[in-house]
Symmetry: none
Subunit: 195 residues, 4 copies
DNA sequence: GATGAATGAGTTTTCATTCAT
DNA sequence: AATGAATGAAAACTCATTCAT
């Protein structure tokens, strides 16, 4: 019984989350009102508040979900990276996967800005950001074990993802991800940096 | 007389722009109301409307200003890049200059998101983004004329600037810009990519 | 079985009443929601409604309880007033007892104001108020049988109780109840009022 | 010019204050919404907020006004108390004046309860309450200079005012203020209290 | 040029109450 | 007896914008 009720709750929370995320990604976090969300989910404002006692809570949960999603994507990549594919091919796939999730990306951005003026949210992003860096590093260590600067490379990859994401969202021409991947992999394999 | 008035107008517009930009960078574009701005500039709301017929216009002007500022920064770097300094040193300076302008960066981000749901703004950003890429490429061609993939490098630099900016704004540990610069320069100088 | 259920019902009603009274005294009748109460009693809102079909009913019951409590306190005093203690000493005890029940007093006040805009509640308060006056008069007739103006004194005592209660609740300095008691008793014993 | 504008503001604030006070006295502070007030004053909700940025501010101002009014009433009594009227007559007038202002009284009560859970308001009431005690004492010293316990009497008067006010508001029978006044004055004049 | 008063549509939030289970 | 999901009406509050002066 307890389980059943919780199930309903969970399903509803998910419906709300899903729809809210969609709306926010389409029009931006602060351009979406709770009325909009309630309307879209076809529940009353009261019900929305039954599940989320404040807009902030809702946004936080969406951010959670969005971050988990990205983490999972990167994790999957790391797992797959055992396979026998060329490193640059694999790297290209990371970029691709993340950028393809355009909608995810957009809300990701919105939420990050939200985080700039919200401490609890910011802390979560920091945690997760560090985790992503680690995951990417793990992946690199697997696909380019002989890479000399995998840690640097991981940082560059993660950082440039944001730039490429932004380019994509703005509708600029698609960055040549295959060449970029090749470039970065070669860099890592090239003779040591003279100190 | 016409000139005189225009002068006052310009000065006042600048005061408004300057203050509004500061507020928006501190708390985000959509968290700042026109009342807040009017109060901070110490003019009445009516006066604010005299200079800016809508909030959108004001934001657009701030975006212009912010973009020009960034363009100028990159341009200065390109100009300076003739001097006799090692390429990685110079590259580090670009990163540094841009990231140091933390406050500029923050509003830059806010505005970019604003642009995602505002066509006129988005178009301006696209134009400017392309210009930045060109400028950076120019610079690279000067400091690493023998670089084989300056175009790719320019894209990676510009893209990763956004990621590093975000890291900085979130208060994460400072990225090791000197190593990153070295890494990227070496990459560009390393033996050709086998096609 | 019917009895058993009634017992549970009574116990539950009392738990609700007790907790609700505490909350309302702490933050005021209209600042407490039924959710707050349900949460504090650790029952569901539905259950709360099972016992009290409306917030009004609940408040009414709390008022009943609160009034009964005060009545009882005064009654106890009247009963005790046979004992061989000086009248002013006894009078001081009344004041003291009532004022000491600070928490009771606070909710008493809140409820009285509630009564101002609720006819059924107001009527109950009026009834009870008259009863208190009578009870106090009874007590006075016992401890100061030679008092000439016991009825007036009763009214003054009851009225000033409210003022002193308010003082106490506001955190003002404690009124010198012993001197006040002495003063009032002496007044009652002093040579007749020339008409 | 500056004056003219402030004048309008003042007049409007007064209109709002006056109407809001009336509504609150009729139905209680927490039963009145800002919509109700706006409607009654025939301005928009926005305008109401232009003058009072929060409900709390409005209530605070009404409380201020209400307290000032009571202070003034007591002060006037003190001033008048030089005249050649019997002390009990004068005392009766105080009671009368205050109780007659039924509406003032009701809101006074509501506000006092509001003060119990609002520190800034409570502080103001405490200040004012002390002032009232002083004023009443001044008056007594004038009309009953030979009174032995004017300070005690002042406290009793102030305290019982609240009780009588409550009685009046609840619609109970009018307290016999003339007899009560006589009683209290005689008490004060009667032979000294044996310690 | 400049002001501040006024607005109304919108936002987030609260809450007593109902009801199927 | 008991629950918690759902509701809708109304609350407090925000804000870009208009306008008479």
């Amino acid at each position: 019984m307890g389980r059943k009720e919780k199930k309903t709750t969970k399903i509803n929370k998910e419906r709300i989350l899903f729809t809210a995320a969609r709306l926010m990604k389409e029009r931006g976090v602060s351009n979406i009102s709770l009325s909009d969300i309630a309307k879209a989910v076809k529940i009353s404002k009261g019900t929305l508040y039954y599940y989320y006692p404040s807009k902030h809570d809702l946004v936080f949960d969406i951010a959670e979900q969005s971050m988990n999603h990205m983490t999972q994507k990167i994790f999957q990549w790391v797992e797959k990276s055992k396979e026998d594919v060329s490193p640059e091919e694999i790297l290209k796939i990371v970029f691709d996967t993340i950028l393809r999730a355009k909608s995810r990306g957009q809300i990701h951005f919105y939420l990050m800005l939200e985080a700039l003026s919200d401490d609890s949210l910011r802390e979560r992003f920091c945690q997760e950001y560090a985790k992503w860096k680690e995951l990417i590093l793990d992946g690199l260590n697997r696909i380019i074990p002989q890479g000399k600067e995998n840690s640097l490379l991981a940082q560059i990859i993660l950082a440039s993802i944001y730039g490429f994401l932004l380019q994509t969202l703005l509708g600029l021409e698609k960055p040549p991800l295959d060449q970029i991947s090749k470039f970065l992999v070669m860099a890592d394999l090239s003779p040591s940096l003279p100190e």
